[in-house]
Amino acid sequence: MPLFKSSPKSPQELAKGLKEALGVLSSGGAKRAEKAAEEAAKILGQIKVMLYGSGDQEPQPELTAQLAQEFYNHDILLHLINNMAKLDFEAKKDLAQIFNNVLRRQIGTRCPTVEYLCSKFELVLKLIRGYENPEVALNCGMMLRECVRHEPLAKLILENGDFYLFFKFVELSTFDVASDAFAMFRDLLTRHKILCANFLETNYEKVFVDHYQKLLNSENYVTRRQSLKLLGELLLDRHNFTTMSLYINNPDNLKLMMKMLIDPSRNIQFEAFHVFKVFVANPNKSKPILDILLRNREKLTDFLTKFHTDRTEDQQFNDEKQYLIKQIREMQPAADTATATAEAAAV
């Protein structure tokens, strides 16, 4: 045991050492790579202490600033992400925490790491693709989650075709990874209200008709339950008014919700109710929607009267149910002119 602790390495030394280790890791032979992975893990541990502090010791701002600068200048984050699968188990988690700490850096109103990542967007795409590899999926998820908090990065992810990969990731067979992917998917579609509203509106067809539909019809119970719940949240968010109008004027969507109302799963039934109510409450129903509701008027009122009667505690639910029953009972067939405009709106 050494008598004196060796003085901690400077940010420059740490960055340099890390870069060298990563260089060997990506190109060296098996033997050398193993050594390099050990070295990288050691340095990552030291960097983590520098950024997060330890015990009572707070991190020193000038050291973290220098370290971040080294990271930008030598593209160290990029190298780290590229070699993540070769890092050992604990080092991967250290990397994620280092990444997240560097990402939150602010100078006044500027976020230099966010700017850096916008210019090196391939790095973020790499993180998204990380879900395909179970070895790194959850670590990538930890980093992506912090990326999505920053609007410029969330915007780039949404606008990039890789966003649609999430429709696949949420159905992965490993529950933990699929769960993480779904949480990310929800974040992407809900966190930045205006950005999300614009995205959903402009890409309505692609998102809802081409992709979201598949989630709602998934064979995976968790996917169906979660995507249905999220759908309800999206449609009821006032920012998404245009998207909601498009959604609730399509008779296919109504048919699907009515099908889900009688799903064997009570949770699915309940979530479907929260989407179904939007169709009924809409004061400007299109003719096809009205026709379906009128055709099933008796069955619907009867069904709703008996629907989840044991939820006596949930006052809001019961009020809404009564409201829907009343609406459906009093519904009038559409006058032709009103139908025409509603249909025009639906197209």
Binding site: A41, G55, D88, E90, T174, F175, D176, S179, Y221, P264
Partner: protein
């Protein structure tokens, strides 16, 4: 005071970590590694239900929505515990708790922390697989084995605590607070290795890339765990709580192990709250039979007193605890000593298991069928 966030694995040889054994591995650590390998470190837990044989049910868990079965992974012959969680019976927030637990499991790797090997969805059921812990939990043993009705003897307690505290130290080093350290979550493997389970209540003290100074607020298990929870966690004041609240629970759990029952157990929840908030020391509920008194040595009671100090800053860190004579002396004890000490209790004999007969198939398939004859037109 916050414990060090630096990576303990590099600092000392204390971690008989399965994947990262250091060169300082002692002989007992080497055998430990060999033995733990069959726990699942080397078998690929496959997310396919037909890869598992399901034996008899052994309990219920997870908000009452899980049936727990003994099971076996056919391709590797490894015995596992299957938690069949009926997600249909979980609320959305309970389901999120389970999702977080499964995610956390994949980010944890330590000899003394029990985790899930894999989890996947079949119908409305989640199949969650854990390595089989042949002795069950310490609470199970105390409840079911007559010789341990009134708790364990000190050598057993110190081995259990040593393992649990080192598992806890690992979690703390990653920035996690456990929040339900109790005998129910101390599982004992066939080899005599003790593991800390109950990851559902774990919370992280790292958020958005920075350390959180203190945590606030309760969690779903607060009432259930109230006997073990630290006063500062229950008080919900501005100063909040952190890692030290787990150390308080270690003290309570030590008393639980020594007497067979947690202090405060049986008192009304509000009274426990009041006692704890007033800084009252743990109240032993079980009548000592005279002989018991002698069993809590000054060694043990000193450690317990330190742990349950009402002032969190005066409680020892897990690292300090591991250095107390109570835990330190026995560091080199080979794991099978615990097996000897637990006699006449023996690990579950897996050769005598019966495949679950009736009902299981239908249980696996069954959906909460509220069949409806409605056909929309």
């Amino acid at each position: 005071m916050l414990p060090c966030f630096c990576n303990l694995r590099k600092v000392g040889p204390k971690y008989p970590d399965m994947l990262h054994s250091t060169s300082e591995s002692t002989v007992s650590q080497a055998t430990l590694l060999q033995k733990t390998s069959k726990l699942g470190a080397e078998y690929e837990a496959t997310p396919i239900s037909s890869d598992y044989l399901v034996y008899q049910a052994i309990g219920v868990g997870c908000f009452g929505a899980a049936s727990i079965f003994l099971s076996q992974h056919i391709p590797s012959n490894v015995f596992t515990v299957l938690r069949l969680i009926d997600l249909e019976r979980l609320s959305s927030s309970q389901m999120e708790d389970v999702q977080n637990e499964m995610k956390l499991s994949q980010l944890i790797n330590h000899t003394h922390v029990a985790r899930y090997l894999c989890s996947f969805v079949v119908g409305t059921k989640l199949w969650a697989l854990q390595p089989l812990m042949h002795y069950g939990s310490c609470a199970d043993i105390m409840h079911s084995a007559q010789p341990f009705r009134n708790g364990f003897k000190e050598p057993v307690i110190s081995i259990i605590l040593r393992d649990i505290v080192s598992g806890l130290q690992y979690l703390h080093s990653l920035g996690f607070v456990h929040r339900s350290v109790r005998a129910k979550h101390f599982l004992i493997h066939e080899d005599g290795i003790v593991k800390l389970s109950g990851l559902r209540s774990v919370v992280s003290m790292i958020e958005d890339g920075a350390r959180v100074k203190a945590l606030h607020g309760h969690f779903t298990g607060t009432v259930d765990n109230i006997c073990w929870l630290a006063p500062e966690l229950l008080s919900q004041d501005l100063s909040g709580y952190s890692f030290q609240s787990d150390v308080y629970s270690v003290g309570i759990a030590a008393l639980e192990l020594a007497t067979g029952e947690a202090p405060f157990a049986g008192l009304p929840v509000t009274e426990i709250m009041m006692l704890k908030l007033r800084g009252h020391p743990p109240v032993l509920m079980k009548k000592d039979d005279g002989e018991k008194d002698g069993q809590i040595s000054t060694h043990l009671s000193k450690v317990i007193d330190l742990c349950v100090d009402p002032d969190p800053s005066r409680r020892p860190s897990p690292a300090k605890l591991l250095n107390t004579s109570l835990l330190k002396v026995r560091k080199k004890v080979a794991p099978n000593t615990l097996k000897d000490l637990l006699l006449p209790v023996v690990p579950l004999d897996t050769s005598k298991l019966n495949v679950a007969e009736t009902g299981l198939e239908s249980m696996l398939e069954a959906l909460n069928t509220t069949t409806t004859e409605i056909i929309w037109t």
